[in-house]
């Protein structure tokens, strides 16, 4: 790996990715796959996540940081080079973690929070458009649909990780080895295909 590949756009040795979604969407599992791929490649890695009450359908966020020696497990605002988000509203909510010009890798999925279900407030109808305006380097896909074509709609997160993967110095075979190791057998093939489909969309 080149020296450049080990530093973010400010030349710092700690790099960050934020993963956001709704409790129950598998955000923690995706963060764990990403973190293990980075460990396999030789980085120091820290992650952060929240368990308990927030998991009951609330907003959830996982953070993954890697580099030579990572200090804080939490990503400071403006330091994530990528935001992976499984839901549009949560994408908008967490844009502030992105470094100016950072990349959004999002799923075109809408999960209405209770105030919206109740008709009390409106879901931002132009969410996707606002995301692409506020973060021009965005790629928003129907991750669940792509995953379904690969055999399991629940592998949507793995599609998004695939899109992210060309941005990171971890080669394809190392990714697939980590997926083989961590994904349960019956979901394995769908996750492998979902990752590869995402990786192609991500430009590799």
């Amino acid at each position: 790996m080149s020296a450049d590949a080990d530093r973010n756009m400010y030349g710092e040795a700690t790099r960050s990715v934020v993963l956001a979604g709704v409790g129950g969407q598998g955000t923690i599992t995706a963060a764990n796959l990403l973190a293990n791929a980075l460990v396999a490649h030789g980085y120091d890695v820290k992650t952060s996540e929240v368990h308990g009450m927030a998991q009951r359908g609330g907003s959830v966020i996982s953070m993954v940081r890697f580099g030579e020696s990572v200090a804080s497990p939490l990503v400071p605002l403006g330091e994530a080079e990528a935001l992976i988000a499984t839901e549009l509203l949560e994408t908008l909510r967490n844009l502030e973690y992105l470094v100016p010009g950072g990349k959004v890798i999002g799923s075109r999925t809408r999960v209405d929070p209770l105030p919206v279900l109740q008709g009390a407030v409106e879901y931002p109808a132009d969410a996707e458009q606002r995301i692409t305006e506020l973060a021009p380097d965005s790629i928003i896909v129907d991750a669940a649909g792509i995953a379904a074509e690969c055999g399991d709609a629940r592998a949507a997160n793995t599609v998004l990780l695939g899109i992210l993967s060309p941005l990171l110095p971890v080669p394809e075979d190392e990714w697939l080895a980590v997926i083989d190791k961590l994904v349960p057998k019956k979901a394995l093939e769908a996750n492998r295909q979902a990752f590869l489909a995402g990786r192609e969309l991500g430009g590799e």
Binding site: Y10, T14, V22, G23, N32, A35, N36, V39, D44, V45, K46, T47, S48, E49, V50, H51, G52, M53, A54, Q55, R56, G57, G58, S59, V70, A71, S72, P73, L74, P76, L77, G78, E79, L83, L89, E90, L92, R93, L95, E96, Y97, L98, V99, P100, G102, D112, P113, L114, P115, V116, L117, Q118, G119, V121, E122, Y123, P124, R130, L134, A135
Partner: protein
């Protein structure tokens, strides 16, 4: 080099304890501590158990330690309030095998009712305390904790926080150690704390404090990081990580052992600098002691005393230290977005009974569990809640107060029907049983609703004395809540199905109007665990629906209102039928296409 593995702090502390030779562990689940025991229980050759509550867990661990093995009790911060009674006397009686209490504080209250700083518990009980700053330290320091426990003959506090418990980091494990059980020896002068014995023991603790402080001054995990400039930051726990990142190049005194505080070390190191800063989460625990040394630290006047710290707020507190890492702006902060609070799941069995309760014009004394989420509108089905088990006892007090206030004699009894206490099965076993005894014994006449979903749901489905299985999923007794309530003298005990609204409403009305105490058990397995459900979704029959919105009052995430149209999300609906029962026009029916 040994293989490094990515582990949460909770996993690391479990492995470290195992490698220290710990063979007994007891806990009550509570975020962020739950996975400590879950991880430990999977290791070979250990005994691990879910206790009914934290007091029981700690007492069992004290017993195991006196029995000669290294033992551990784990709990969240508020759990130590429950366990405070044994906690304060445990250091009097000392240890045989090493004994450590792993405490998990929750700054920011991600999943808690308060954000108390439990470091004061260590100080108040004269117990040595270690604070890991990441997973590797959780592993390393828990091993040190057992050495310290036996060396100083005391229980040790191992204080973690959410961002240590639930952060993953690389852990390099060392050669596992062994602990040979200490043969049991009777020593009642040391272990039976009648006043005459306790008066002998307390001075021992005071002397020990001085010895432990000497040890803390020399403890190799107290880290002096020499940087540049004339400022030094004193810190501990995960706050160290934020300070290290926010203030690159600044000197740091990073403490791992924070009770007793190494005053000599702090003085000698800090006196080299012009300005001392203290960076710590929650209370000014370190700062007060650093100030007492005459070091005039800067701290809580700038660092938040509530909520979590992070690199951003630490940097903003002392920008003069952050010259090497200035804030550079960030992506868009979007205002006015709909909030996404946690909610009861679709098909949650709490929904039907809480909806029925909300219709009763009752004062609802609530408790700690998923059902607390019913406080949020539109259910709005909680009036008060303070801690585990308090629903019944607070309800008792409210009922008595209403009687006093209204000037009624107890015999006439009138206002009792207005009070209902609500708590879950695990919470009932935790600390509701004594409350029920209070109600029965002191002639309360209100209604207690026990939401029996057959698990400890909020913390991730742990077993408890009512599930019939142990932590290891081995069969065991099942506490019979009906029989237990009857044995306490409560004659009116009944079971309802929370998916049957008519039954729930009738039972509540009848019991609340009764001039006698009653228990209503709302029994149905947590929808996330119930394998018997058919899960055929319901649908709204468009031509029958007049958009009255009654069904929306049950706050189900499967029901959505778009404009005037109400729909059921088939993927989310579990077919519990509660919305169909609420509908007065029979406009919600079981979906035919799916059946």
């Amino acid at each position: 080099m040994a293989e490094k593995r990515l582990m949460t702090g909770n996993e690391a502390v479990a492995l470290g304890a195992y490698h220290a030779g710990v063979t007994f562990a007891s806990a009550y689940p509570g975020t962020p501590s739950t996975e400590i025991l879950e991880s430990f229980s999977k290791l070979e050759g250990v005994y691990a158990e879910w206790a009914p509550n934290e007091k029981v867990a700690l007492e069992a661990a004290i017993g195991a330690c006196l029995g000669g093995v290294r033992s551990l009790a784990a709990m969240k911060h508020v759990g130590l309030n429950v366990a405070a009674d044994p906690w304060f006397t445990a250091p009097y009686i000392g240890v045989s095998g090493g004994l450590v209490l792993v405490d998990a504080d929750d700054p920011e209250m991600h999943s808690s009712q308060n954000e108390q700083d439990n470091r004061y518990y260590a100080k108040a009980a004269k117990v040595p305390m270690l604070e890991p700053a990441d997973s590797q330290e959780a592993y390393d320091l828990i091993r040190e904790a057992y050495e310290m426990s036996e060396r100083f003959d005391t229980i040790v506090m191992f204080r973690m926080t959410t961002r240590v418990c639930h952060s993953r980091g690389l852990v390099e494990a060392r050669e596992p150690g062994m602990h040979v059980p200490v043969p049991y020896e009777k020593d009642e002068v040391k272990r039976v704390m009648i006043p005459g014995h306790a008066r002998l023991r307390h001075p021992v603790m005071v002397d020990r404090l001085a010895e432990m402080e000497e040890f803390a001054n020399e403890f190799p995990y107290q880290r002096r990081e020499m940087g540049e400039g004339d400022a030094v930051v004193v810190t501990s726990g995960v706050a160290y990580q934020y300070a290290r990142e926010a203030f690159p190049g600044v000197s740091i005194l990073k403490l791992a052992m924070t009770n007793p505080l190494p005053r000599k070390l702090i003085s000698e190191f800090c006196e080299q600098f012009k300005q001392v800063y203290v960076v710590e989460e929650l209370e000014p625990y370190l700062e007060e002691s650093v100030a007492a040394l005459g070091l005039w630290p800067r701290g809580k006047e700038s660092i938040p005393r509530t909520g979590e710290l992070n690199v951003d707020n630490v940097r903003d507190a002392f920008p003069e230290l952050a010259k090497g890492n200035p804030s550079r702006g960030h992506g868009a902060h979007v205002e006015g977005l709909p909030a996404r609070p946690p909610i009861l799941c679709a098909g949650c069995p709490h929904r039907g009974i809480m909806y029925s309760l909300a219709r009763q014009k009752a004062i609802i004394a609530g408790d700690i569990g998923c059902y607390t989420l019913s406080v949020l509108p539109p259910l709005s089905a909680h009036d008060c809640q303070v801690c585990m088990g308090a629903s019944i006892t607070m309800g008792h007090g409210i009922e008595k107060a209403l009687e006093i206030a209204s000037g009624e004699s107890e015999e006439e009894g009138f206002s009792s029907h207005r009070v209902v206490s609500v708590l879950g099965d695990s919470t009932f076993f935790h600390s509701g049983v004594t409350g029920l005894m209070e109600m029965a014994y002191n002639r309360g006449r209100f209604t207690v609703v026990i939401l029996d979903n057959r698990t400890t749901a909020m913390t991730g489905f742990q077993d408890h004395p009512g599930t019939g299985t142990t932590l290891q999923k081995e069969p065991t007794i099942t506490v019979d809540i009906e029989m237990l309530a009857r044995s306490l003298g409560i004659e009116n005990v009944r079971v309802v199905d929370p998916y049957d609204l008519e039954e729930c409403l009738a039972a509540l009305q009848e019991e609340m109007n009764r001039d006698a105490p009653s228990v209503v058990i709302s029994r149905r397995a947590c929808v996330l665990r119930d394998k018997t459900l058919e899960r055929i979704p319901y649908e709204v029959i468009g031509e029958e629906c007049n958009e009255c919105g009654l069904c929306m009052r049950i706050a189900c995430p499967a029901l959505v209102k778009r404009g005037d149209e109400i729909k059921i999300l088939a993927d989310t609906c579990t077919g519990c039928s509660v919305c169909a029962q609420v509908c007065k026009r029979e406009a919600i029916m079981k979906s035919r296409s799916e059946s």
